[in-house]
Structure formats: C-alpha cells, structure tokens
C-alpha cells in the first residue's frame, strides 16, 4: 500500500517534471535569470527551514520591479512562512532590508505550483544584479517511515524535495545543502554530482538549468527530535481595564512522528532512558512574557502537578510536563492560563484609541500549530475593534458573556493555519473605550444590594395581614 502510493507519487512528480520542462519555452518571456542560487535546508527539527540565496540578473530590456518564487504543490501545502530580504554590501558590512512577499498566480506556471511575488525595493534595471535572501519553512514535510515503530526503535523519516530549485527563471548555477540531525542517513537519491559528508548532503553544483526544472530526491534519515504538533490552539486574551490581562490557552497536543507500535513498557522507559522511546518527549517549554502571575496548568480532569515556573525580569519560562510522555500518535489536551499586568501590553495611540500589543504565536517552543485561533476579548462597551497583523489571517467578530455582562463583550477572533515559532511576532488590536463602562458592574452590584436592603426594610415596616392583630 505504502509502496504503491509512493510509486504513484513519484510518477506524478515525474510527469510534473516533464510538464514543467515543456513549460520552459513559454516562461522565457521572463527576462530575468538567476546567476547563482544556493539553498540550505535544515532538517534538524520537525520543521524544514530553507534558506535560499539568489543572485538575480535582469537580462531583459525593461526594468524589473519584482521577482517570482515558485514552490511545487507538495511543498505549497506545508508552507508556513516565506520571508525575503534584499542583501546589499559585502560580507561583514551586509545590510538586510526586508522585502514584501505576496502570493500570486502565474499563468504559465506548472499546474499546482504556488508562486510568490517579491517586490524589489528598487526596480532592477537591465543588466543589473541583485542578491535576494529568502527564508521559508515547511511543516509536516518529513514523513515517518516506517510509519509505526516500537518503543526501542529510533524514528526514521523521509524528506522529499527536488535537486533543482523550482524556479520560473533559468538558473546558471545552483547548489543545495541538506543538513540532517544526525549522521545516520539510511539512503538518499543521487542526482550527480551528489556528496555526503557527516551530517550534510550536497546536491550540485548544477549548471545552467532551464526554468521549472525538477528532479525529485528522497532522503531517508533518523530524526529523533520531538515532533510536537499542536493540532489546535485557542488563545483567549481577555482585557480587563482594572489592570489585568488574562490569557487562557487551550492546547490539543499530539506527537506527529512515527506511531508507537504495540506495547509501552514503563520498565524500559524508566531504566533505559537513552535507548528507549528516543523519539518521545515528556516535557515542553513555554516562553511567557515577564511579570507573569497566577499561572495555572490543568486539563479537564484537574490540575497537572508537573510544571515548573522560572521568572526573571526579562522573561518567564514555564516548563510543563503532560500527564504522560508522548509517544508517536499519542495525544493530550491541556490548558495553560496566566495573568499579566495590563500596562505592559495596552497603550493609547495618538488618535485617542487604545491598542493591545501582544504576541501572536504559540508560546511553546519548537512546536508546529496546525490551527491557531486568537480571541481578543475586549471590555464590555468597547467599539470599533480592528487588528493589525503582519501576515494574512482570517478575522471575524463574536460576543462573549462573562461576569455580570449585560450587552456582552466584543471578541475579535483571528485564525491562522500552519503556524511556526517564526510567527511569534507582535500584533495590535485597536479599539475605542469609554472608561465610564468600568463602573457599570460595580454600580450594578451596589444597587442590587441597596434594593435588597430597601426591600427588607419595606417588608418589615408594612403590615400585609388582612386581619388586624
């Protein structure tokens, strides 16, 4: 089953490659060529981090204001983040300027390929060259094989890619380096020249490849890094103008690596920690903001007692252990909650609006989040919320009723799929709020108690009996 699937996929890739070769002629219209491309793929964690350096030359007549990137369909689904920057200057004095990257459609690209458009700072005049550095990350791109392992076996994974960089431009010279987490590489495809030295595989250099050239390669290697996947994370950020920011995070954690086959033996796990369950993980580190207070860590059946909090003036680190070590395919759910001083995160903008400045991503280090939902609960009575997020997210509004609410609190919901630690950047939520609303609930309570006493006094002083005593 597995083998046939693989064969199918390989066949599909070959056809794809063939098609892409056909497409070369049409893409010649692009009058840019890449003089030198270097690709470094880091596979040492569960996320494939790819660092691409392109030296671009404009061979056409007109100035080019943008450069296209393309990804094969297998990678396009796993693509978590693409960043580009322009490098200028030599060696040490290099300066980096971030560039704008936007997904786009290229009509003559092979079917399923996903393209991105990098807008250059200054249009590239004919004959000029420029260096662009691109960083992109792929999640779930390593497929465990064998898919099921026993407790004592190491975890082996496949990584698929192309020996040639898929590009809409002709590439004069290109090299690909693949860094594996250990020296244990079981097999790798050869597209000569191919070298292996220690933990590094080198494909290339390849000279003068036409546009959209593709040559699938497969690397089979050992990767025992924890494949901690948060399948779903809901972060709720609740703003209270009485001075507290309450964060509640609901996690559904899974081990995304090779599934555990058969037995889990505690004896082996405890007595031979190095040899047993190497791909499992038992603790995770959550990096929380400084000055965090009232931290809790629990699940639906109560407090989980195995956690440790370290705080200093610059950061807080919460080390958590799920109830049991996670082996391949095992799942766990838990909730982390904490409070933060509001003045660290809420500010007033120049136009009188308030804005929350908070980190977007998942605080657990080294994890991939398949679906992240950030809910910003604004205080009751706040108006016109709007979010500023540095990457595309889905947004909608909800209403939440909490302590003694009458009209409910507006909730701004931000959703994003495929989140990597790189997304732990700040985002802002702007809203306007009248401080009078802060007094609504205390006044309500006070008046309730007042009316209660008034009713008591009235009852005690009114004789409601029909017959006079």
């Amino acid at each position: 089953m597995e083998a046939s699937l693989r064969a199918q996929r390989t066949a599909a890739l070959l056809i794809f490659a063939f098609l892409s070769l056909l497409a070369v002629s049409s893409s010649a219209a692009q009058e840019i060529q890449i003089l030198n491309a270097e690709r470094r793929i880091d596979l040492s964690s569960q996320i494939a981090i790819v660092f691409l350096t392109l030296k671009v030359e404009n061979t056409g007549k007109a100035a080019a204001s943008e450069v296209l990137l393309s990804f094969p369909p297998t990678e396009a689904d796993h693509l978590a983040e693409v960043k580009a920057q322009a490098a200028s200057g030599k060696k040490r004095k290099k300066t980096h300027v971030p560039l704008d990257v936007k997904p786009t459609d290229v009509p003559d690209a092979p079917k399923g390929a996903k393209c991105f458009r990098i807008a250059l700072l200054n249009p590239l005049s004919p004959g000029e060259t420029s260096t662009i550095e691109v960083l992109y990350m792929l999640t779930h791109s390593m497929e465990p094989f064998p898919a099921e392992i026993s407790q004592s076996e190491p975890q082996l994974v496949y990584y698929r890619d192309s020996a040639y960089i898929l590009s809409p431009y002709r590439i004069k010279q290109q090299t690909t380096f693949i860094k594996t987490p250990s020296t244990n590489v079981l097999s790798f495809s050869r597209v000569e020249p191919t070298n292996r030295a220690g933990m590094e595989l080198k494909y290339g250099p390849y000279e003068d490849r036409p546009a959209y050239s593709f040559s699938p390669v497969l690397v089979h290697f050992e990767n025992n890094n924890p494949f901690a996947v948060v399948e779903e994370l809901v972060r709720e950020v609740e703003i209270s103008h009485w001075g507290n920011l309450q964060i509640t995070e609901h996690y559904t954690l899974a081990h995304g690596g090779a599934k555990l086959k058969g037995v889990f033996s505690r004896v082996d796990y405890q007595s031979r920690p190095g040899a047993s369950g190497v791909s499992s993980f038992k603790n995770l580190l959550a990096r929380l903001p400084p000055r965090v207070h009232s931290v809790y860590y629990r699940d639906e059946i109560g407090n989980i007692s195995s956690s440790r909090l370290r705080t200093d003036s610059r950061k807080s680190e919460l080390e958590i252990e799920p109830r049991y070590p996670l082996f391949g395919g095992w799942k766990s759910t838990f909730v982390i909650g904490y409070g933060l001083p509001l003045e660290d995160f809420l500010f007033e903008s120049t136009d009188g609006k308030r804005y929350l400045n908070f980190t977007f991503g998942c605080p657990l280090s080294g994890t991939v989040v398949d679906k992240l939902t950030v809910k910003v609960v604004l205080p009751e009575g706040s108006k016109d919320p709007s979010a500023v997020v540095p990457f595309p997210v889905e947004q909608h509004m909800e209403t939440k009723y909490s302590y003694l609410d009458v009209v409910g609190r507006p909730v701004l919901v931000l959703e994003k799929k495929n989140v990597v630690p790189e997304h732990n950047t700040l985002f802002q939520v702007y809203y306007s709020f009248n401080p009078v609303f802060m007094l609504a609930e205390p006044l309500m309570l006070v008046s309730t108690v007042f009316f209660l006493f008034a009713a008591c006094v009235a009852y005690l002083h009114i004789d409601v009996s029909i017959r006079k005593r």
């Binding site: 889990f264 505690r266 004896v267 059946i301 407090n303 007692s305 109830r323 766990s332 909490s402 302590y403």
Partner: protein, 784 residues
C-alpha cells in the same frame, strides 16, 4: 412572650427590653452568618492543600450526571439510558439515581450562568457540599431553637458547622448525596418540630416538601419515615396526643408518600416496601386515637366506656385480619420486603453472611471506638448531659430529640457511614447541654458578683440574699465540677421552664436558690471553654489533615521537605481518554468504574453502583482465573483493555492485590469453581514464595507483577513487605500498553484472537495442552 412582659414593666424598661431583644436578634443573626462562613471555609482545606477537584469515587458519578444534566436538560436526564457502564447491560440512570443532589447543583449552575457568571459545572459541584453544610448548621439552629431556645440553637449550629463526622462527607469536592441530605434531614426534623409546636398546617405542608427533597437526595430518607412515626407513637403512648401532633403527622404521611412516589428511584416502593410500613401503621393508629379522643369529647364517660369495649373488640378482630394479610404478603417476598442495606441495619451480621458485596465496602463496616472519638470528639461526652437536659422538662420536641439520638447511636454502631446521621443529633444535644450549663453557671456568677455593670437595684437585692444561700449550696455540691455542674442543672430545668410561663417577679425568688458557688462556676466555665477550644482544635485538625485528601491525588513528604505528588490515577485516565478508541471497553474492579466513565469517558463493565452482583462476580472470576480463561471471559464481553491498580512499587496499600480476596469471594459466590481456600496458604493470604499456585497464576497476580522484578532485581513489594513469589513470567494473552509513572495503574490490552490455521487446529491444541501440563509441573516443582 416578650410583649406581655413589656406591658407590665414601665415604659422605660419596655424600651430597653425591646432594644435588647433587637440587639440580641441582630447579634444572633451575625453569629449565624459567621457560623455559615465557618462551616463553608473549614471545608476549603482540600481546595487549598490540593486543588479544586472532585473527590473519591461516587462523587465522580454525580459529577458526570450533573454534566449530563447541564448539557442535555432535565427531560433527557430522566430518560437517560447510560450505555457506557455495565456493558453490555447498561443502566437507566434517570430511574435509579437519587436526583436531589444533581438537580440542586444543576439548578445552581443554571442560575449562576444565567447571571453571566461563567462558573464551570465542576466548580459548582465542588462547592455544593460546603454551601449546604452552612445551610445544615442553620437548620440545626432552627431545630434546636424550637427545642430549647436560641442559645442552645446557636451552640448547636456552631458545633455542627465543624463536626468532623460531617466534614468528612462534605469537604469541598466531596460531591455526594450526603452533602445535601444532612441539610434536608435536619431541616425536615425542624419543620416537623415546628409543626408540632405550632400546629400550623402551613408548616406541615412545608414539612412534606422538605421530606420530598430528602427523598430526592438520599436513601437515608427511610430514617425520617421511621423515626417520626416512632416519635408519634411515643407521644401517643405517653398520653401526649394532641391535635398538633395529628397535624404534624397525618399530612406528612399523605403528602410525603405521594411526593416520594414521584421520585423515579422510589416510585411504588413508597407504599410497597417494609421500610415504609411503620409510617402507615402509625397513621392508622393516630386516626384511631384521634377518633377515640373525639368520641371521648362528645360522649359521657359511661357511654364512652361502652363504646370503647365495643370498638376494641371489633377493632381487634379487624386489625388481626389486616395484620395477618400484611404479614402473609411481606413473608412471601424473599427478603421480607426489606432491602439488603436495611436488613444490614436491623441485623448487623446479615451482610457478612449473605451479601459480600455490601460487606466488602469499608464504610459499611461497624465503627471502632476511636472512630467515635475521631468523628464526634467531645460531643460524645456532652450528649448524656444533653439528654438529661432534654428531660427537664420533657416536651414533645425534646422527646423527639432524645429519640433521634438514641436511634442514630444504634445505626452508627452498625455502619461507619451512618455516623453521619448521628453527628447532627450529637451536635444538637451537645449544644443543649453546653448552653444549659453556661446558662446556669453564668447566672450564678452574675448573681454573686455585686459590682457587675448593668445590674441595677434588683441585682443588688439579689446578691444579698444569694450570699445567704450560697454556703448551703457549697456544702451540698462539694464534689467534682462535673457533678456540681450537672445536678443543679437537673433541678433547675424544671423550675426554669415554669418560670418562663410565670411573671418575672415570683421567679426571682426561686432563681436565688439555683445559684452555684462563685469559684466553682468560674472554674466550670473555664473548663467548658477549654473543652470547646479542644473541640475546635480537633475539628480544624481533622478538616485539614484527616479528611481533606481527594484520594485521586496522593502526596507524600519527600526527604528534602518538598511535596511529592502521586497523580497516577489521572495520568492513566487521561491516557485512556486520549489514546484509545472512544467505544473501547475497559475492565477493572468495580471501585474504579465511576472514575473511568467520568474521567476517561470509556465504557466499563462494572461500577460502584453495585446493582448486578452476577456481573461483578464475572469480573471477579476473570481476575481470579488463569490468563487463558480470563481472556475468554473478557473477550466474550468485548473488553479491550484491563486496568489494574498496583501499589507495590510505591507502597499504596489500597490496591487491587489487597482487594483481591473480595474478588475471589464475590466471584466464588456466583461461580463455584472459584474457591477461596485455593488462594490461601493455611488460611493466610500471601503473594510470596509460599503462595499457592492458583494465586500465582491468576490474572490479577500476573497483571500486577508483570515485569515488576526488573525494577529492583528482587521484586520486593512494599505494601505486602515481601518479595513476590513468581518473578519471571510472560503474558500470552495480554500485552502491556500503559503503566503510570509510579506504576500505580497498569493498563493491558487483550491480544486479538489467534488466527485459525486450517488443518493445524488439532496439532496446536495437543501441543498447547502438553506445554500447559509442562508449565504446571514446572511451576509446582520449586515449591513442593
């Protein structure tokens, strides 16, 4: 009574008196609020020391039911057929559960959430018990106030707020029926006494409603429906029949029985079972008596005598016939119409003889003497004094309290858990005793201190005369303080009660005689305060140390002073809930049934609602059978996982190996091939090298000790304090899938049935039988 007094006295005095009364009321109110706060907060030790979590076993079931109720609503709750327990039989939850507790918590949750206060169901469930214990102490105040006045009421409420016996069942998280039932019990009694004292039909109706709530809450309602008839009978026999008694009793029986029959779990049992017969019998008697009194009222004495002889002769015949029919009906049922638990109460040896499943529960054992001291502490010494105080004078209400304490002392002697019924009675009587003692002692001090503030001319007059009387009193009561305290109490009571009815002026002359010597009373007051202080210290200790552990989380002090947490149960349940299929069946001993369904959300074979003995016996048999037979039993029941609790590694004593003999006994009760002697060596239960081969080959032993020897090389069991008998063995039909961090819970998976290979069946069978024979030989050799 205050108003006629004030009219007699001058206007200034009346003002001061009413002002004092008002202040007294306010102070009593504040004290009651504080008592409520005390009752609530003393039960929070478990939340502070551990966490806000549901405790133990039964509360998990109630919690699960409450979750269902809050999610699906009341109608689905009544119709709930639970297919996640007692597989494959299932259980009709709506019809077999006392719904009072869950409905109460569900209502609280609903109200709180409709006010947009986002409390979780769990939080509400955790704090239901402390809230209701505050209510219970207020109910105790009301009841005692009806019997002996507000002073005794406040004392009783304060005592009940912190009585350890009640704390043990109502700490935060102990979400069990008893938590609300004790309030319902005391409140029902209060309304009964109130009706008895006032003769108001309004209170009689309320009483029936309170009884209804009690029926909803707890099976212990039979205590009410037997105790009240007993009291009515007592009143009739002692010639205390009155129309108030009739109003207190007749509506309760009629309305109460109708209402009780509305509760699905009771239903027609309210008229069919023997537990309720006493009430109907007394209902008939009270009508006969009422009729007799009525006829006596309208007939002349002569005519009445004639009528009596006529009625008695006819009535006797009819009664005999009715009783004969009743007895015949009752006798035709095997248990004489009594449920097993009730029979255990009437005959304490019944359960151990016939129903091992009731006897196996530790809380159904008779208590030991230390447990009385632990659970009601100094109240045990104050209760006799309270009983004496109740006899002076004996009123309808005080006779009820006496009857209550006497019966509950008996019941608590039969079962540990019924200590809970004793606790309110003990508190009420101790409250009466303490309050009366303080009353007498402080009065004697007051009358003998000449310069006391607030004592006007009257007091100074008194002091002169009292000093004359004092020496004589001293000579009389120069014994121990105890005697000195109690004897005058006995004398005083009767007179004082009369005093209340009389006008204040003549009473003063009599009061002068009731004075104790100053020194003795001061010392006695100090001693009583000391006693109270001791009680408080004990209660706080019991609440903090003895009764606050939630039992699903264990802690131990580690060497460096830190706290080591054993959270293995939840680790296992959490693993089950996340890493097994949602419809998998888990077999374990019934103790863990409720927890497995509530925390792991997996189907279980048996749980703590031990309604089907055969099913439990099946699991017991499987656990005590050799691996293959056990596998067959479990496989026939679709079981996928087997869960055992094992304390041998960390020394957790209440594990399955220690409970194992009960599994053998209960299994053997239904399946005679399991024989208890096979598991005992010379009558001793052991798991070391001296153990019998049956023991060493049974499933429970194997699942508990599988690969245990690899932990320390010897296989030393820290609970049994011995090395295990059989150290190296393999499992052929089960495989280990999960063991918790401290090995306290081990989960095994049944291996799938072996594929049948055509033509080879015969061979493999014969070879297997040979090997099994060899096995037996190999096993026997070392020990014979």
């Amino acid at each position: 009574m205050a108003s006629p007094e004030s009219t007699i006295n001058g206007p200034t005095k009346a003002d001061s008196k009413s002002l004092r009364n008002a202040f007294g009321g306010v102070i009593a109110f504040i004290i009651l609020v504080l008592i409520g706060v005390l009752a609530f907060s003393i039960r929070l030790f478990s939340v502070i020391k551990y966490e806000s979590v549901i405790h133990e076993f039964d509360p998990y079931f109630n919690y699960r039911v409450t979750q269902f109720l809050s999610k699906n609503g009341i109608y689905d709750f009544w119709n709930w057929f639970d297919d996640r327990t007692w597989y494959p039989l299932g259980r009709v939850i709506g019809g077999t559960v006392y719904p009072g507790l869950t409905l109460t918590a569900g209502t609280i949750w609903k109200v709180v959430n409709s006010l947009n206060i986002p409390l979780s169901v769990e939080t509400v469930c955790v704090f239901t018990a402390p809230i209701f214990s505050a209510f219970a102490s207020w109910a105790a105040y009301l009841l005692t106030k009806e019997v002996k006045g507000p002073g005794a009421g406040l004392t009783a409420a304060a005592l009940l707020a912190m009585v350890p016996s009640y704390i043990s069942r109502s700490v935060a998280g102990s979400y069990d029926n008893e938590a609300v039932a004790i309030f319902a019990l005391v409140f029902t009694f209060y309304l009964y006494i109130k009706t008895l004292n006032t003769g108001s039909l309004f209170y009689a109706t309320l009483n029936a409603l309170a009884y209804f709530y009690m029926v909803c809450s707890w099976g212990g309602y039979t205590f009410i429906i037997n105790l009240i008839p007993m009291h009515v009978l007592l009143c009739i026999v002692t010639g205390r029949y009155s129309s108030r008694l009739y109003i207190a009793y007749a509506p309760l029986v009629v309305l109460g029985t109708l209402l009780a029959a509305l509760v699905p779990v009771v239903g027609f049992n309210a008229v069919l079972t023997s537990e309720h017969f006493a009430s109907f019998l007394v209902f008939i008697i009270i009508h006969v008596v009422a009729l007799a009194y009525y006829i006596k009222g309208i007939l002349s004495p002569k005519m009445f005598k004639v009528a009596v002889t006529l009625v008695v002769s006819v009535g006797l015949a009819v009664c005999c016939a009715v009783i004969a029919i009743l007895i015949a009906v009752v006798a035709s049922s095997p248990t004489k119409g009594w449920s097993g638990r009730s029979l255990t109460l009437l005959d304490p040896t019944y359960a151990s003889k016939y129903i091992p499943i009731i006897a196996s529960v530790s809380e159904h054992q008779p208590p030991t003497w230390p447990s009385y001291f632990m659970d009601i502490n100094v109240l045990a010494f104050l209760v006799p004094a309270g009983i004496i105080a109740c006899f002076m004078p004996l009123s309808d209400s005080s006779s009820f309290v006496i009857l209550y304490i006497v019966t509950s002392v008996y019941f608590s002697g039969v079962m540990v858990r019924l200590m809970l019924v004793l606790a309110p009675a003990a508190c009420i009587l101790s409250g009466i005793a303490l309050s009366e003692a303080f009353n007498v002692l402080t009065r004697s001090i007051k009358f003998q201190l000449p310069g006391i503030a607030g004592n006007s001319t009257v007091a100074s007059e008194e002091s002169g005369s009292s000093s004359v009387v004092a020496p004589s009193d001293v000579s009389k009561t120069e014994k121990t303080e105890e005697v000195a305290k109690e004897k005058p109490v006995k004398k005083n009571r009767k007179k004082e009660k009369e005093n209340v009815e009389k006008k204040p002026t003549p009473s003063k002359t009599e009061r002068r005689l009731l004075v104790l010597p100053l020194e003795a009373s001061v010392i006695a007051v100090l001693l009583l305060v000391l006693l109270g202080a001791f009680y408080v210290v004990h209660c706080v200790w019991a609440a903090a140390e003895a009764y606050s552990a939630p039992s699903i989380v264990l802690t131990s002090q580690s060497n460096d002073g830190g706290l080591h947490v054993f959270d293995d149960f939840r680790e296992a349940y959490s693993w089950l809930s996340h890493n097994t299929d949602v419809d998998d069946k888990v077999a374990s001993w019934w103790d863990y049934g409720y927890q497995t369904t509530a925390m792991a959300n997996r189907t279980v074979l048996v749980d703590n609602n031990t309604w089907n003995n055969t099913h439990i016996a099946t699991v017991g048999t499987a656990m005590s059978s050799p691996e293959k037979q056990a596998w067959e039993i479990f496989h026939s029941l679709d079981v996928k996982y087997v869960l055992v609790v094992f304390g041998g590694l960390v020394g957790y004593p209440s594990d399955d190996i220690n409970k194992f003999l009960w599994m053998v006994r209960i299994g053997g009760g239904e399946f005679p091939h399991i024989k208890e002697p096979d598991y005992l060596r010379d009558g001793q239960y052991r798991i070391d090298a001296q153990a019998t081969p049956t023991m060493l080959n049974c499933l429970m032993y194997k699942l508990s000790y599988f690969r245990f020897v690899e932990t320390d090389g010897k296989g030393f069991d820290r609970v049994r304090r011995t090395e295990i008998g059989k150290k190296h063995f393999k499992l052929t039909h089960f495989e280990e899938v999960f063991t918790t961090h401290h090995w306290m819970v081990r989960i095994y998976k049944l291996k799938p049935p072996r594929n049948r290979i055509r033509g080879k069946t015969k061979k493999s069978k014969s070879s297997r039988s040979v090997s099994s024979k060899r096995d037996v030989k190999g096993k026997r050799n070392p020990w014979h």
